[in-house]
Symmetry: C2
DNA sequence: ACTTTTTTTTAGATTTGTCTAAATTTTAAT
DNA sequence: ATTAAAATTTAGACAAATCTAAAAAAAAGT
Protein backbone atom coordinates (compact mmCIF):
# COMPACT_ATOMS: atom_id res chain seq x y z
CA UNK A 1 0.00 0.00 0.00
CA UNK A 2 0.99 3.60 -0.53
CA UNK A 3 0.84 6.39 2.03
CA UNK A 4 0.55 10.13 1.69
CA UNK A 5 3.38 12.46 2.68
CA UNK A 6 1.36 13.48 5.70
CA UNK A 7 0.67 9.93 6.79
CA UNK A 8 4.33 9.07 6.40
CA UNK A 9 5.40 12.03 8.50
CA UNK A 10 3.01 11.05 11.25
CA UNK A 11 4.14 7.41 11.19
CA UNK A 12 7.79 8.36 11.34
CA UNK A 13 7.25 10.83 14.17
CA UNK A 14 5.37 8.27 16.23
CA UNK A 15 8.27 5.91 15.67
CA UNK A 16 10.80 8.47 16.90
CA UNK A 17 8.77 9.38 19.96
CA UNK A 18 8.42 5.70 20.80
CA UNK A 19 12.19 5.44 21.16
CA UNK A 20 11.82 7.44 24.34
CA UNK A 21 8.42 6.45 25.68
CA UNK A 22 6.57 3.25 24.90
CA UNK A 23 3.25 4.97 24.21
CA UNK A 24 2.98 8.37 22.58
CA UNK A 25 0.68 11.21 23.60
CA UNK A 26 -1.38 13.47 21.38
CA UNK A 27 0.34 16.62 22.56
CA UNK A 28 3.86 15.33 22.10
CA UNK A 29 3.09 14.26 18.55
CA UNK A 30 1.42 17.58 17.77
CA UNK A 31 4.49 19.31 19.11
CA UNK A 32 6.87 17.13 17.08
CA UNK A 33 4.97 17.77 13.84
CA UNK A 34 4.19 21.43 14.51
CA UNK A 35 0.47 20.79 14.19
CA UNK A 36 -2.39 21.07 16.62
CA UNK A 37 -3.62 18.26 18.91
CA UNK A 38 -6.94 18.19 17.05
CA UNK A 39 -5.14 17.38 13.82
CA UNK A 40 -3.29 14.56 15.50
CA UNK A 41 -6.52 13.00 16.73
CA UNK A 42 -7.94 13.19 13.21
CA UNK A 43 -4.91 11.53 11.64
CA UNK A 44 -4.78 8.88 14.32
CA UNK A 45 -8.28 7.77 13.54
CA UNK A 46 -7.19 7.31 9.96
CA UNK A 47 -4.06 5.40 10.88
CA UNK A 48 -6.19 3.23 13.13
CA UNK A 49 -8.64 2.32 10.37
CA UNK A 50 -5.61 1.55 8.20
CA UNK A 51 -4.44 -0.73 11.01
CA UNK A 52 -1.06 0.85 11.58
CA UNK A 53 -1.47 1.93 15.20
CA UNK A 54 -2.96 0.72 18.44
CA UNK A 55 -5.02 3.56 19.72
CA UNK A 56 -7.43 3.95 22.59
CA UNK A 57 -9.19 7.23 23.12
CA UNK A 58 -7.51 9.44 25.69
CA UNK A 59 -4.99 6.67 26.31
CA UNK A 60 -2.20 7.39 23.88
CA UNK A 61 -1.11 5.18 21.01
CA UNK A 62 1.72 3.21 19.49
CA UNK A 63 2.62 1.68 16.16
CA UNK A 64 1.70 -1.95 15.67
CA UNK A 65 4.15 -4.19 13.85
CA UNK A 66 2.90 -3.15 10.40
CA UNK A 67 3.24 0.50 11.35
CA UNK A 68 6.67 -0.12 12.74
CA UNK A 69 7.86 -1.71 9.54
CA UNK A 70 6.60 1.20 7.50
CA UNK A 71 8.26 3.66 9.88
CA UNK A 72 11.58 1.87 9.60
CA UNK A 73 11.35 2.01 5.85
CA UNK A 74 10.82 5.76 5.92
CA UNK A 75 13.71 6.14 8.37
CA UNK A 76 15.82 4.06 6.02
CA UNK A 77 15.05 6.36 3.11
CA UNK A 78 15.63 9.45 5.19
CA UNK A 79 19.03 8.33 6.41
CA UNK A 80 20.22 7.06 3.06
CA UNK A 81 19.40 10.42 1.52
CA UNK A 82 21.16 12.22 4.38
CA UNK A 83 24.21 10.09 3.73
CA UNK A 84 24.03 10.97 0.04
CA UNK A 85 23.68 14.66 0.74
CA UNK A 86 26.71 14.76 3.03
CA UNK A 87 29.02 12.24 1.38
CA UNK A 88 28.25 12.87 -2.26
CA UNK A 89 26.96 16.42 -2.45
CA UNK A 90 29.19 17.80 0.31
CA UNK A 91 26.52 19.26 2.58
CA UNK A 92 27.32 19.88 6.24
CA UNK A 93 25.33 17.57 8.46
CA UNK A 94 23.30 20.36 9.97
CA UNK A 95 21.84 21.23 6.58
CA UNK A 96 20.54 17.90 5.39
CA UNK A 97 17.62 17.08 7.63
CA UNK A 98 15.00 19.27 5.95
CA UNK A 99 15.95 18.17 2.48
CA UNK A 100 15.89 14.49 3.47
CA UNK A 101 12.52 15.22 5.01
CA UNK A 102 11.26 15.79 1.47
CA UNK A 103 13.33 13.20 -0.36
CA UNK A 104 12.24 10.40 1.98
CA UNK A 105 8.76 10.51 0.44
CA UNK A 106 9.82 9.70 -3.11
CA UNK A 107 8.19 6.36 -3.45
CA UNK A 108 10.25 4.17 -5.77
CA UNK A 109 11.63 1.08 -4.04
CA UNK A 110 14.04 0.54 -6.92
CA UNK A 111 15.39 4.03 -6.38
CA UNK A 112 16.30 3.31 -2.76
CA UNK A 113 17.79 -0.04 -3.64
CA UNK A 114 20.06 1.57 -6.20
CA UNK A 115 20.87 4.53 -3.99
CA UNK A 116 21.91 2.15 -1.22
CA UNK A 117 24.20 0.30 -3.58
CA UNK A 118 25.57 3.54 -5.04
CA UNK A 119 26.46 4.69 -1.53
CA UNK A 120 28.09 1.32 -0.81
CA UNK A 121 25.54 0.14 1.71
CA UNK A 122 26.27 2.58 4.52
CA UNK A 123 25.44 1.45 8.04
CA UNK A 124 24.93 4.84 9.68
CA UNK A 125 23.82 8.28 8.60
CA UNK A 126 25.92 11.45 9.00
CA UNK A 127 24.64 11.93 12.54
CA UNK A 128 25.77 8.45 13.53
CA UNK A 129 22.26 6.99 13.53
CA UNK A 130 21.93 3.45 12.19
CA UNK A 131 20.26 2.86 8.82
CA UNK A 132 17.62 0.12 8.92
CA UNK A 133 18.03 -2.60 6.31
CA UNK A 134 15.45 -3.56 3.68
CA UNK A 135 13.66 -5.82 6.14
CA UNK A 136 13.39 -3.11 8.76
CA UNK A 137 16.16 -4.52 10.88
CA UNK A 138 18.04 -1.77 12.67
CA UNK A 139 21.33 -2.15 14.51
CA UNK A 140 21.23 -1.20 18.15
CA UNK A 141 24.40 0.71 18.70
CA UNK A 142 25.27 0.46 22.35
CA UNK A 143 26.59 3.82 23.25
CA UNK A 144 27.04 5.97 26.28
CA UNK A 145 26.82 9.63 26.88
CA UNK A 146 30.17 11.36 27.34
CA UNK A 147 29.13 12.39 30.84
CA UNK A 148 28.95 8.71 31.83
CA UNK A 149 32.41 7.73 30.62
CA UNK A 150 35.02 7.08 33.30
CA UNK A 151 38.17 9.20 33.21
CA UNK A 152 41.19 7.99 31.24
CA UNK A 153 39.05 5.98 28.85
CA UNK A 154 39.48 6.12 25.09
CA UNK A 155 36.22 6.32 23.18
CA UNK A 156 34.90 6.83 19.66
CA UNK A 157 32.16 9.35 18.93
CA UNK A 158 29.21 7.42 17.54
CA UNK A 159 26.42 9.97 17.36
CA UNK A 160 25.30 13.41 18.37
CA UNK A 161 21.81 13.95 19.66
CA UNK A 162 21.56 17.69 19.10
CA UNK A 163 22.03 18.30 15.39
CA UNK A 164 21.63 22.04 15.25
CA UNK A 165 23.98 24.41 13.40
CA UNK A 166 25.06 25.79 16.77
CA UNK A 167 26.09 22.35 17.92
CA UNK A 168 27.93 21.69 14.67
CA UNK A 169 29.83 24.93 15.07
CA UNK A 170 30.82 23.97 18.59
CA UNK A 171 31.88 20.47 17.61
CA UNK A 172 33.92 21.79 14.71
CA UNK A 173 35.68 24.11 17.10
CA UNK A 174 36.62 21.13 19.26
CA UNK A 175 37.55 19.03 16.20
CA UNK A 176 34.88 16.50 17.06
CA UNK A 177 32.97 14.59 14.40
CA UNK A 178 31.34 11.17 14.07
CA UNK A 179 33.97 8.43 14.58
CA UNK A 180 36.51 10.81 16.10
CA UNK A 181 38.58 9.10 18.80
CA UNK A 182 39.00 10.99 22.04
CA UNK A 183 40.07 10.44 25.62
CA UNK A 184 38.22 11.58 28.73
CA UNK A 185 40.70 13.14 31.13
CA UNK A 186 38.58 14.36 33.99
CA UNK A 187 35.07 15.17 35.12
CA UNK A 188 34.71 18.40 37.08
CA UNK A 189 32.29 18.02 39.93
CA UNK A 190 31.53 21.72 40.15
CA UNK A 191 29.66 22.17 36.87
CA UNK A 192 29.83 18.72 35.31
CA UNK A 193 32.19 19.88 32.57
CA UNK A 194 34.56 17.33 31.07
CA UNK A 195 38.17 17.63 30.02
CA UNK A 196 38.87 15.67 26.87
CA UNK A 197 41.76 15.16 24.49
CA UNK A 198 40.96 14.87 20.81
CA UNK A 199 43.72 13.08 18.85
CA UNK A 200 46.76 15.34 18.51
CA UNK A 201 45.03 18.52 19.61
CA UNK A 202 45.64 20.11 23.00
CA UNK A 203 43.20 18.89 25.61
CA UNK A 204 40.17 21.07 26.23
CA UNK A 205 37.14 21.37 28.47
CA UNK A 206 33.60 20.98 27.21
CA UNK A 207 30.52 21.97 29.18
CA UNK A 208 28.18 19.36 30.60
CA UNK A 209 25.58 20.60 28.16
CA UNK A 210 27.79 19.72 25.22
CA UNK A 211 29.00 16.45 26.77
CA UNK A 212 25.42 15.33 27.35
CA UNK A 213 24.78 15.45 23.60
CA UNK A 214 27.79 13.44 22.53
CA UNK A 215 27.38 9.68 22.44
CA UNK A 216 30.35 7.38 22.22
CA UNK A 217 31.33 3.73 22.27
CA UNK A 218 34.48 1.99 23.45
CA UNK A 219 37.36 0.88 21.25
CA UNK B 1 7.68 32.35 -3.95
CA UNK B 2 6.95 28.66 -3.49
CA UNK B 3 4.57 26.57 -5.54
CA UNK B 4 2.69 23.38 -4.76
CA UNK B 5 3.48 20.12 -6.50
CA UNK B 6 0.26 20.48 -8.44
CA UNK B 7 0.97 24.02 -9.53
CA UNK B 8 4.46 23.00 -10.63
CA UNK B 9 3.13 20.11 -12.67
CA UNK B 10 0.65 22.41 -14.41
CA UNK B 11 3.30 25.03 -15.11
CA UNK B 12 5.70 22.49 -16.54
CA UNK B 13 3.05 20.89 -18.71
CA UNK B 14 1.99 24.22 -20.14
CA UNK B 15 5.64 24.87 -20.94
CA UNK B 16 5.98 21.56 -22.79
CA UNK B 17 2.78 22.04 -24.75
CA UNK B 18 3.92 25.52 -25.76
CA UNK B 19 6.93 23.99 -27.52
CA UNK B 20 4.48 22.75 -30.12
CA UNK B 21 1.75 25.38 -30.18
CA UNK B 22 2.09 28.96 -29.05
CA UNK B 23 -1.11 28.94 -27.00
CA UNK B 24 -2.34 25.93 -25.09
CA UNK B 25 -5.90 24.64 -24.90
CA UNK B 26 -7.78 23.40 -21.87
CA UNK B 27 -8.35 19.95 -23.30
CA UNK B 28 -4.76 19.38 -24.32
CA UNK B 29 -3.52 20.30 -20.87
CA UNK B 30 -6.13 18.10 -19.20
CA UNK B 31 -5.01 15.28 -21.44
CA UNK B 32 -1.32 15.85 -20.68
CA UNK B 33 -1.92 15.84 -16.93
CA UNK B 34 -4.53 13.08 -16.91
CA UNK B 35 -7.06 15.36 -15.28
CA UNK B 36 -10.41 16.70 -16.39
CA UNK B 37 -10.90 19.99 -18.28
CA UNK B 38 -12.83 21.40 -15.32
CA UNK B 39 -9.80 20.94 -13.10
CA UNK B 40 -7.63 22.73 -15.62
CA UNK B 41 -9.93 25.73 -15.66
CA UNK B 42 -9.82 25.87 -11.87
CA UNK B 43 -6.05 25.73 -11.72
CA UNK B 44 -5.69 28.27 -14.50
CA UNK B 45 -7.66 30.82 -12.58
CA UNK B 46 -5.25 30.33 -9.73
CA UNK B 47 -2.18 30.63 -11.93
CA UNK B 48 -3.70 33.76 -13.40
CA UNK B 49 -4.18 35.42 -10.03
CA UNK B 50 -0.60 34.45 -9.24
CA UNK B 51 0.37 36.18 -12.49
CA UNK B 52 2.11 33.26 -14.14
CA UNK B 53 -0.09 32.89 -17.21
CA UNK B 54 -1.89 34.99 -19.75
CA UNK B 55 -5.37 33.62 -19.88
CA UNK B 56 -8.53 34.73 -21.56
CA UNK B 57 -11.69 32.75 -21.06
CA UNK B 58 -12.36 30.32 -23.89
CA UNK B 59 -9.26 31.64 -25.65
CA UNK B 60 -6.50 29.38 -24.38
CA UNK B 61 -3.50 30.48 -22.39
CA UNK B 62 0.26 30.71 -22.25
CA UNK B 63 2.96 31.29 -19.67
CA UNK B 64 4.12 34.85 -19.20
CA UNK B 65 7.82 35.47 -18.66
CA UNK B 66 7.62 34.80 -14.93
CA UNK B 67 5.80 31.55 -15.57
CA UNK B 68 8.31 30.60 -18.19
CA UNK B 69 11.21 31.10 -15.85
CA UNK B 70 9.59 28.94 -13.23
CA UNK B 71 8.86 26.25 -15.80
CA UNK B 72 12.46 26.22 -16.97
CA UNK B 73 13.62 25.81 -13.41
CA UNK B 74 11.38 22.78 -12.94
CA UNK B 75 12.58 21.35 -16.23
CA UNK B 76 16.14 21.94 -15.04
CA UNK B 77 15.53 19.99 -11.86
CA UNK B 78 13.74 17.22 -13.70
CA UNK B 79 16.53 16.72 -16.20
CA UNK B 80 19.34 16.93 -13.67
CA UNK B 81 17.65 14.20 -11.63
CA UNK B 82 17.16 12.09 -14.75
CA UNK B 83 20.84 12.45 -15.49
CA UNK B 84 21.66 11.40 -11.95
CA UNK B 85 19.37 8.39 -12.09
CA UNK B 86 20.87 7.12 -15.32
CA UNK B 87 24.51 8.06 -14.91
CA UNK B 88 24.97 7.50 -11.21
CA UNK B 89 22.36 4.97 -10.20
CA UNK B 90 22.42 3.00 -13.43
CA UNK B 91 18.76 3.21 -14.40
CA UNK B 92 17.73 2.65 -18.01
CA UNK B 93 16.41 5.84 -19.56
CA UNK B 94 12.91 4.51 -19.92
CA UNK B 95 12.60 4.08 -16.15
CA UNK B 96 13.59 7.51 -14.89
CA UNK B 97 10.81 9.82 -15.94
CA UNK B 98 8.30 8.98 -13.21
CA UNK B 99 10.89 9.15 -10.46
CA UNK B 100 12.21 12.49 -11.71
CA UNK B 101 8.60 13.62 -11.81
CA UNK B 102 8.64 13.37 -8.01
CA UNK B 103 12.21 14.46 -7.35
CA UNK B 104 11.78 17.65 -9.37
CA UNK B 105 9.54 19.06 -6.65
CA UNK B 106 12.09 18.91 -3.84
CA UNK B 107 12.51 22.56 -3.25
CA UNK B 108 16.04 23.28 -2.10
CA UNK B 109 17.97 25.52 -4.50
CA UNK B 110 21.23 24.57 -2.80
CA UNK B 111 20.44 20.91 -3.47
CA UNK B 112 20.16 21.48 -7.19
CA UNK B 113 23.26 23.62 -7.28
CA UNK B 114 25.28 20.88 -5.62
CA UNK B 115 23.69 18.13 -7.67
CA UNK B 116 24.60 20.00 -10.84
CA UNK B 117 28.19 20.30 -9.71
CA UNK B 118 28.29 16.67 -8.55
CA UNK B 119 27.15 15.60 -12.01
CA UNK B 120 29.77 17.83 -13.62
CA UNK B 121 27.35 20.34 -15.10
CA UNK B 122 25.73 18.14 -17.74
CA UNK B 123 24.29 19.86 -20.78
CA UNK B 124 21.67 17.32 -21.77
CA UNK B 125 19.56 14.70 -20.01
CA UNK B 126 19.58 10.97 -20.86
CA UNK B 127 17.01 11.53 -23.60
CA UNK B 128 19.17 14.14 -25.26
CA UNK B 129 17.07 17.07 -24.10
CA UNK B 130 19.00 20.20 -23.08
CA UNK B 131 19.21 21.15 -19.41
CA UNK B 132 18.35 24.82 -18.79
CA UNK B 133 20.95 26.74 -16.79
CA UNK B 134 20.33 28.54 -13.51
CA UNK B 135 19.06 31.61 -15.32
CA UNK B 136 16.58 29.64 -17.36
CA UNK B 137 18.67 29.77 -20.49
CA UNK B 138 18.19 26.66 -22.57
CA UNK B 139 20.30 25.60 -25.54
CA UNK B 140 18.42 25.21 -28.76
CA UNK B 141 19.80 22.09 -30.27
CA UNK B 142 19.26 22.28 -34.00
CA UNK B 143 18.37 18.82 -34.97
CA UNK B 144 16.57 17.02 -37.73
CA UNK B 145 14.43 13.99 -37.86
CA UNK B 146 16.13 10.93 -39.39
CA UNK B 147 13.50 10.88 -42.11
CA UNK B 148 14.72 14.27 -43.30
CA UNK B 149 18.39 13.38 -43.59
CA UNK B 150 19.77 13.00 -47.09
CA UNK B 151 21.33 9.65 -48.00
CA UNK B 152 25.04 9.08 -47.46
CA UNK B 153 25.16 11.60 -44.63
CA UNK B 154 26.89 10.90 -41.31
CA UNK B 155 24.90 12.08 -38.31
CA UNK B 156 24.92 11.88 -34.51
CA UNK B 157 21.81 10.90 -32.57
CA UNK B 158 20.89 13.84 -30.37
CA UNK B 159 17.54 12.90 -28.90
CA UNK B 160 14.62 10.52 -29.08
CA UNK B 161 11.10 11.82 -28.88
CA UNK B 162 9.35 8.61 -27.92
CA UNK B 163 10.84 7.48 -24.61
CA UNK B 164 8.80 4.37 -23.96
CA UNK B 165 10.25 1.01 -22.92
CA UNK B 166 9.18 -0.37 -26.30
CA UNK B 167 11.20 2.29 -28.08
CA UNK B 168 14.21 1.66 -25.84
CA UNK B 169 14.04 -2.05 -26.61
CA UNK B 170 13.95 -1.30 -30.31
CA UNK B 171 16.83 1.15 -30.16
CA UNK B 172 18.93 -1.27 -28.13
CA UNK B 173 18.35 -3.88 -30.78
CA UNK B 174 19.68 -1.49 -33.41
CA UNK B 175 22.56 -0.41 -31.14
CA UNK B 176 21.31 3.15 -31.18
CA UNK B 177 21.70 5.46 -28.19
CA UNK B 178 22.13 9.18 -27.60
CA UNK B 179 25.33 10.40 -29.34
CA UNK B 180 25.65 7.27 -31.45
CA UNK B 181 27.09 8.07 -34.88
CA UNK B 182 25.32 6.54 -37.83
CA UNK B 183 25.09 6.88 -41.60
CA UNK B 184 21.91 7.07 -43.65
CA UNK B 185 22.24 4.77 -46.65
CA UNK B 186 18.91 5.01 -48.38
CA UNK B 187 15.30 6.08 -48.03
CA UNK B 188 12.76 3.65 -49.38
CA UNK B 189 9.93 5.41 -51.13
CA UNK B 190 7.50 2.53 -50.70
CA UNK B 191 7.02 2.70 -46.91
CA UNK B 192 9.37 5.46 -45.87
CA UNK B 193 11.73 3.05 -44.14
CA UNK B 194 15.39 4.01 -43.89
CA UNK B 195 18.51 1.94 -44.26
CA UNK B 196 21.20 2.99 -41.81
CA UNK B 197 24.63 1.83 -40.74
CA UNK B 198 25.50 2.11 -37.08
CA UNK B 199 29.28 2.18 -36.49
CA UNK B 200 30.77 -1.27 -37.12
CA UNK B 201 27.47 -3.12 -37.17
CA UNK B 202 25.93 -4.47 -40.34
CA UNK B 203 23.58 -1.97 -41.96
CA UNK B 204 19.92 -2.40 -41.16
CA UNK B 205 16.52 -1.02 -42.06
CA UNK B 206 14.36 0.86 -39.62
CA UNK B 207 10.70 1.66 -40.16
CA UNK B 208 9.53 5.19 -40.85
CA UNK B 209 7.79 5.11 -37.47
CA UNK B 210 11.08 4.53 -35.72
CA UNK B 211 12.99 6.98 -37.91
CA UNK B 212 10.45 9.69 -37.18
CA UNK B 213 11.30 9.52 -33.49
CA UNK B 214 15.05 9.74 -33.84
CA UNK B 215 16.53 13.21 -33.96
CA UNK B 216 20.07 13.81 -35.13
CA UNK B 217 22.54 16.55 -35.87
CA UNK B 218 25.44 16.70 -38.30
CA UNK B 219 29.10 16.11 -37.45
C1' DA C 1 -27.81 31.52 -41.26
C1' DC C 2 -28.99 27.91 -38.65
C1' DT C 3 -27.93 23.66 -36.44
C1' DT C 4 -24.93 20.40 -34.50
C1' DT C 5 -20.71 19.21 -32.35
C1' DT C 6 -16.86 20.29 -29.64
C1' DT C 7 -14.66 22.91 -26.26
C1' DT C 8 -14.66 25.37 -22.18
C1' DT C 9 -16.56 27.08 -18.06
C1' DT C 10 -19.63 27.05 -13.99
C1' DA C 11 -22.08 24.99 -10.16
C1' DG C 12 -22.00 22.00 -6.70
C1' DA C 13 -19.75 17.80 -4.33
C1' DT C 14 -15.98 15.22 -2.41
C1' DT C 15 -11.47 14.03 -0.25
C1' DT C 16 -7.48 15.22 2.44
C1' DG C 17 -5.41 17.68 5.85
C1' DT C 18 -5.65 21.34 8.60
C1' DC C 19 -7.55 24.76 12.09
C1' DT C 20 -10.39 27.09 16.26
C1' DA C 21 -13.46 26.80 19.84
C1' DA C 22 -16.12 24.10 22.77
C1' DA C 23 -16.97 19.76 25.18
C1' DT C 24 -15.19 15.77 27.44
C1' DT C 25 -12.01 12.98 29.95
C1' DT C 26 -8.00 12.35 32.69
C1' DT C 27 -4.68 13.91 35.96
C1' DA C 28 -3.08 16.76 39.66
C1' DA C 29 -3.94 19.56 43.68
C1' DT C 30 -6.12 20.86 47.68
C1' DA D 1 -13.60 13.69 47.58
C1' DT D 2 -13.99 17.81 45.31
C1' DT D 3 -12.12 21.04 42.53
C1' DA D 4 -8.86 22.94 39.33
C1' DA D 5 -5.81 22.23 35.56
C1' DA D 6 -4.19 19.83 31.66
C1' DA D 7 -4.82 16.77 27.91
C1' DT D 8 -7.69 14.99 24.45
C1' DT D 9 -11.51 14.67 21.52
C1' DT D 10 -15.53 16.46 18.95
C1' DA D 11 -17.97 19.79 16.15
C1' DG D 12 -17.81 22.68 12.63
C1' DA D 13 -15.20 25.43 9.28
C1' DC D 14 -11.78 26.10 5.64
C1' DA D 15 -8.32 25.71 1.74
C1' DA D 16 -6.48 22.89 -1.98
C1' DA D 17 -7.24 19.92 -5.60
C1' DT D 18 -10.04 17.12 -7.70
C1' DC D 19 -14.53 15.33 -9.87
C1' DT D 20 -19.46 15.02 -12.41
C1' DA D 21 -23.17 17.10 -14.60
C1' DA D 22 -25.09 21.06 -16.58
C1' DA D 23 -24.66 25.53 -18.89
C1' DA D 24 -22.40 28.60 -22.04
C1' DA D 25 -19.43 29.77 -25.81
C1' DA D 26 -16.88 28.76 -29.96
C1' DA D 27 -16.13 26.12 -34.04
C1' DA D 28 -17.67 23.25 -37.68
C1' DG D 29 -21.08 21.52 -40.93
C1' DT D 30 -24.77 22.01 -43.89
MN1 LIG E 1 9.10 14.03 5.69
MN1 LIG F 1 20.04 11.82 10.66
MN1 LIG G 1 6.19 16.31 -11.29
MN1 LIG H 1 14.08 13.60 -20.16
Amino acid sequence: MNYSVSEENYIKSIYHLQQQTETVTTNSLANELHTKPASVTDMLKKLQTKKLVEYEKYRGFKLNSTGNKIALNIVRRHRLWEFFLVNKLGFEWDKVHDIAEELEHVSSADLIKRLDSFLNFPQTDPHGDPIPDTNGKIAIIKQQCLTEIAAKKNVVVSSVSNQSPEMLEMLKHYHIAISTTLKVNKHFAFDGSVEIKVSQHASCIISQQVAANIFVHHD
